[in-house]
């Protein structure tokens, strides 16, 4: 009975805050199959971690942290006969992002050129999270966040300008 209630509560919360998952999937995956895989993995990890969620903190904050952690920890597996010393970049495929405005599509294309942790910082910055929250989620100092953001914003502007 308690389990069923928790389960229902979880489904309602995820349903309500699911845009967070979609944003993270767009930021971390360059094509539809990868996005669907990541979406599944994030929901699974959220469910597994749900017992540890403390109601005292905001659900969206907790959700961002678990989902970003899952996205960054996602690794690609080597192919049977590929050279495992390098990891080729997967090109950005906008085929299923047609519903997004052109400006946001360009933004995602630019973000796809950033490194994984840089993407997390950009996403949290776009979501107007404080420097303290970003620092806490990543595990770095507030000063470090500020330094990194200056560099990332400059790189992002450069990339957007290139794609426009």
């Amino acid at each position: 009975m308690i389990h069923e209630r928790t389960h229902q509560h979880f489904l309602e919360l995820i349903h309500k805050h699911q845009s967070i998952i979609h944003k993270i999937c767009f930021v971390y995956s360059n094509n539809r199959p990868d996005r669907e895989d990541l979406q599944q993995e994030i929901i699974l990890q959220l469910w597994k971690s749900f017992p540890s969620f403390q109601e005292s903190s905001a659900f969206s904050t907790w959700m961002y942290r678990v989902a970003l952690n899952t996205a960054i920890n996602q690794t690609r597996r080597p192919g049977l006969l590929i050279d495992t010393s390098s990891s080729p970049e997967i090109p950005y495929d906008p085929s299923d992002s047609y519903q997004l405005s052109e400006e946001i599509q360009i933004l995602f294309r630019a973000i796809s050129k950033l490194k994984k942790v840089e993407r997390a910082i950009v996403l949290l910055w776009l979501e107007e999270r404080s420097y303290e929250e970003i620092a806490e989620a990543i595990g770095i100092t507030v000063k470090n966040v500020s330094v990194k953001l200056v560099r990332i914003r400059s790189r992002l502007a450069e990339l957007i300008s290139k794609f426009q």
């Binding site: 349903h15 993995e41 678990v66 996602q74 690609r76 495992t84 933004l107 490194k115 990543i138 770095i140």
Partner: protein, 240 residues
């Protein structure tokens, strides 16, 4: 180059209505909960579990050997010693399963989660892979003994080239088993290491990494030496 107003883009992000249009129903979300995780921790867990199953099967087949060759005291002693070692290895792998880090519990900090997984892999899981690869050699040994039993009804005396062929097969079974898994996991761990490096260059100091490499080399040498000695001892007891 055009000047880009990032605050304008941030405002566009905030007002983007399409994010709300990608809707999953509660049934869709429910459907995801029954799927298998592809997280690297799950990969560690599955690998260990599969190895435990394989080791258990090898153990059962070796017990069968004890029953079949119950008259051969030397063989009973050698196989019993191998079985004891196998039990130790099963216990080791079982305990290793309990040490696998759960990245998202209780409150995930990305750096801590990455550190835990990378350090678990270097400190514990690589050893577990070598212990796991021993299953291949034992499986070959067990298969070899059954082959003799079904073909000749006994263990026939070996010539020097028999020692070479069977010994090399067992060593190859070990090396290939360990190599394939380490190669695959190294590829994945490197991706996590590059994220950690991105967060903070000083997180895992150069000294720690060098220590890990030295320990790894020592471990490979010890395991290979033990395997070769074991093979020679086994051959001596069975065929002298």
């Amino acid at each position: 180059m055009k000047s880009i107003d990032l605050d304008k883009i941030k405002a566009a992000w905030k007002n983007e209505k399409a994010f709300e249009s990608f809707k999953l129903s509660e049934a869709d979300i429910q459907g995801f909960l029954g799927k298998r995780s592809k997280d690297i921790s799950q990969l560690f867990r599955t690998g260990l579990f599969m190895d435990l199953v394989l080791k258990s099967l090898v153990g059962i087949s070796l017990i069968g050997i004890l029953v079949i060759f119950r008259e051969n005291l030397n063989l009973i002693l050698v196989v019993s010693a191998i079985l004891l070692g196998l039990l130790g290895a099963i216990r080791y792998q079982w305990r290793m399963m309990g040490k696998i880090p759960e990245g998202n519990i209780p409150d995930p900090v990305i750096r801590t989660s990455l550190e835990n997984k990378i350090l678990f892999y270097h400190r514990h899981y690589k050893k577990a892979l070598y212990v796991g690869a021993l299953s291949n050699s034992l499986l070959i040994l067990s298969g070899m003994l059954y082959y003799f039993y079904f073909k000749y009804g006994e263990i026939r005396p070996f010539q020097w080239d028999d020692y070479l062929v069977f010994g090399a097969t067992m060593v190859l079974g070990f090396v290939i088993g360990a190599f394939v898994q380490i190669k695959q996991l190294n590829f994945q761990i490197k991706q996590l290491e590059s994220c950690l490096k991105e967060i903070d260059e000083e997180t895992i100091s150069t000294i720690t990494l060098r220590d890990q490499r030295n320990k790894k080399r020592r471990m490979i040498f010890i395991v290979l030496l033990a395997l070769v000695c074991g093979l020679l001892l086994l051959a001596y007891f069975i065929f002298r």
